[in-house]
Symmetry: C2
Subunit: 406 residues, 2 copies
């Protein structure tokens, strides 16, 4: 698989005190690459998470939901190549076996072990391979962020991470996040697998509030194909090793700064997923304003971002703005055709329900030839606004998905 | 453009007394083919219609909606190559000019003239070309159903029609319908342009009730790409020339037979649109049962039918039934993973939330190699059921839509 033309270089990610990474070959598929990621987390680590809204979630998602209620974490195991979803009692047994193996090895409760898996649906995760993989990881040398980010990939073409710092209680705390895509990506959830680590000390309920808020404006604002995974999970772990007085409320000094840093990391990770969307050749930002509410703006933005006709027009560098009109019209949200304005990049193409007087397609065509495309819609109705990120729909998406399993 | 591999031969369609067809070259695009269809309708013709639910409808749609309130029709004009949507006052002026031209020529009210247009959005329909096209059509020799069905096409690769008869009041009445697709096809509407003609005598309100009902189980049950057109319109015209006592209620003798014939024609037309879906190589029937309600079943069926991952798997003849699980899970409808059953063709692949014991992929793979694919889902919750038709998602769809305007 060629690297996405939208790929970004892997950022320099510092270590996070209290987090130790290891990777191993569990060989969940017939490949010779690391596919099991293990993160050991210091005692006292708090955790928060958001998971898929799918009605058919994987047993990993159910396991994490239950464990999140306790707010503590000592380890994370991520399996790539097999999502273990829709595998009934055998899938549940595999997750329980993984948690038990780790708990026994490092001396913690099984509920302190978070598990996530990604890959094909419907095949029970082989317990023997998982256990052998965990043993190999425990015996392995420490891994880098880049190795961990590469090990959780499936159809991704480049490893994805983001980092930020914040000053809390006079101490600089650090955040590092890794994420994987890159198909079955749609919002209304925490998308696919993302993991954020920080050495900040913060109580689990506040970390959860911050993560839920950051998720709303990051992972829930991206879409590749409108398809929502059964395994989507984003977890945030805070080891507390930075030594700040533990944050308990947004009123605490530094809480704003940490929340902003978390938002930045989540947004960068979410955008990185779009940049590695299956077959993507353009990174597309859809900005909707003038809607009746922010929620309405978001639904309209997603209607545009999920439209196969809009996405194929962008792939073809075709200034076919009529398809944006179509996508606004089908969103089912309040809209008045004759107040609608549309721009591509900085060029206004339509206003008050028709093309602008003397519309010149040349600057729009030039904008569409770039790697970064911006579509702006003003509904002229109210103050609601939203920004959503997506990619174009190309032959690459078809090629990848018409023979993914083979 | 090659003819769709799912194309059907054009059926033998008898004339409908009271309907005269003509076609002409308005040259809305730089092409040398007929692109204006004109149908003259006998005095006394009643009409019913269903139109797009888009919030950005074309002026043609608005015109038809207003005219439908009167229930009478004397003519139909269909323009291909330019949808005239999102063109403001200039678009409205074009529709008014067309209606006025026809009304003057044949001696009727402008509101007796129904107008529909299909093609690119955002370019005002040129009034001079429309008027010259109408004049040419009025002077032309009568056209066949096949010529009319071909003239309303845009990216369609074969002309589509259906016919049926019913006995009403001792007389055999005939129905003929024509339709065009073939992208921007999604339900929650009357899809694209479809026209059904009958010589039955029936009052407009009853015809409307029959058409609305038929639409619910035909045009509203298909999807090609989940994109809803700004111009979707299905009109039914009843000339009354068969001489039966006009039907006024479903209790009248023969009303059931006519409704059944209308349903049959609409279903065949809707399926023909799917068979000519852009890039289609497989005709896919999605049957959902055991849902909490029929409406819930339909939404789940559409979630499956609109999923790019399901559609690309079918294109790749890949028995990736996990993607069906995903699509059920994301539909947002009541579902219980561990009661879910899935079949491909006649082969059960999953039951009670996991693959069936000893699942053999061979018969499923064989089924997927055919042109007609059937996906069955049983939710195991209630009595709700729905059937939806779609096609696969192939490189052809990308090719067609990445450079549609050029």
């Amino acid at each position: 698989m060629e690297t996405s033309p939208l790929a970004l270089p892997f950022p320099a990610c510092p270590p996070i005190a209290g987090v130790e990474l290891r990777v191993a070959r569990a060989r969940y598929k017939a490949w010779d690459r690391c596919d099991l990621t293990f993160a050991a987390l210091a005692e006292g680590t708090t955790v928060a998470g958001v998971t898929t809204k799918s009605k058919c979630p994987s047993p990993e998602v159910e396991w994490c939901r239950a464990a999140l209620t306790l707010g503590r974490a000592r380890a994370l195991v991520v399996n790539a190549g097999n999502s273990n979803a829709f595998t009934g009692h055998r899938g549940r047994a595999a997750v329980e076996a993984i948690a038990a193996r780790v708990a026994g090895a490092i001396g913690c409760q099984p509920s302190d072990v978070f598990v996530a898996s990604t890959g094909v649906i419907g095949v029970p995760l082989p317990i023997d391979k998982a256990e052998a993989g965990i043993d190999a990881a425990l015996a392995a040398a420490p891994a880098s962020w880049e190795e961990a980010a590469a090990t959780i990939m499936t159809t991704d073409t480049f490893p994805k991470a983001a980092t930020a710092t914040a000053v809390v209680d006079g101490r600089t705390v650090t955040l590092v996040g890794i994420v994987k895509g890159s198909g079955m990506i749609a919002p209304d959830m925490a998308t696919m697998l993302g993991f954020v680590f920080t050495d900040a000390a913060i109580e689990a309920p506040l970390l959860q509030a911050m993560l839920s808020s950051a998720n709303e404006a990051s992972f829930s604002c991206i879409t590749v194909d409108g398809d929502t995974s059964t395994s989507d999970t984003v977890l945030a772990f805070a080891t507390g090793a930075a030594g700040n007085a533990p944050l308990t409320s947004m009123d605490d000094a530094g809480a704003d700064a940490l929340a902003a840093a978390l938002q930045q990391v989540c947004t960068e990770l979410a955008q990185a997923v779009v940049r590695d969307g299956e077959g993507a050749s353009k990174f597309v930002t859809v900005e909707v304003e003038g809607a009746e509410s922010d929620a309405s703006a978001r639904r309209i933005a997603l209607s545009i971002a999920n439209s196969p006709l809009v996405k194929t027009a962008i792939a073809g560098e075709d200034a076919n703005w009529g398809r944006v009109v179509m996508a606004v019209g089908k969103a089912g949200e309040p809209a008045e055709r004759d107040r609608l304005a549309i721009r591509f990049g900085a060029t206004q193409v339509a206003r008050d329900g028709l093309a602008v007087e003397g519309y010149d397609e040349a600057p729009v065509a030039a904008h569409l030839k770039g790697r970064e495309v911006e579509i702006g819609v003003d509904l002229g109705l109210g103050e609601g606004r939203a920004t959503v990120w997506t990619c174009d729909l190309t032959h690459g998406y078809i090629s990848i998905n018409a023979d993914y399993r083979s």
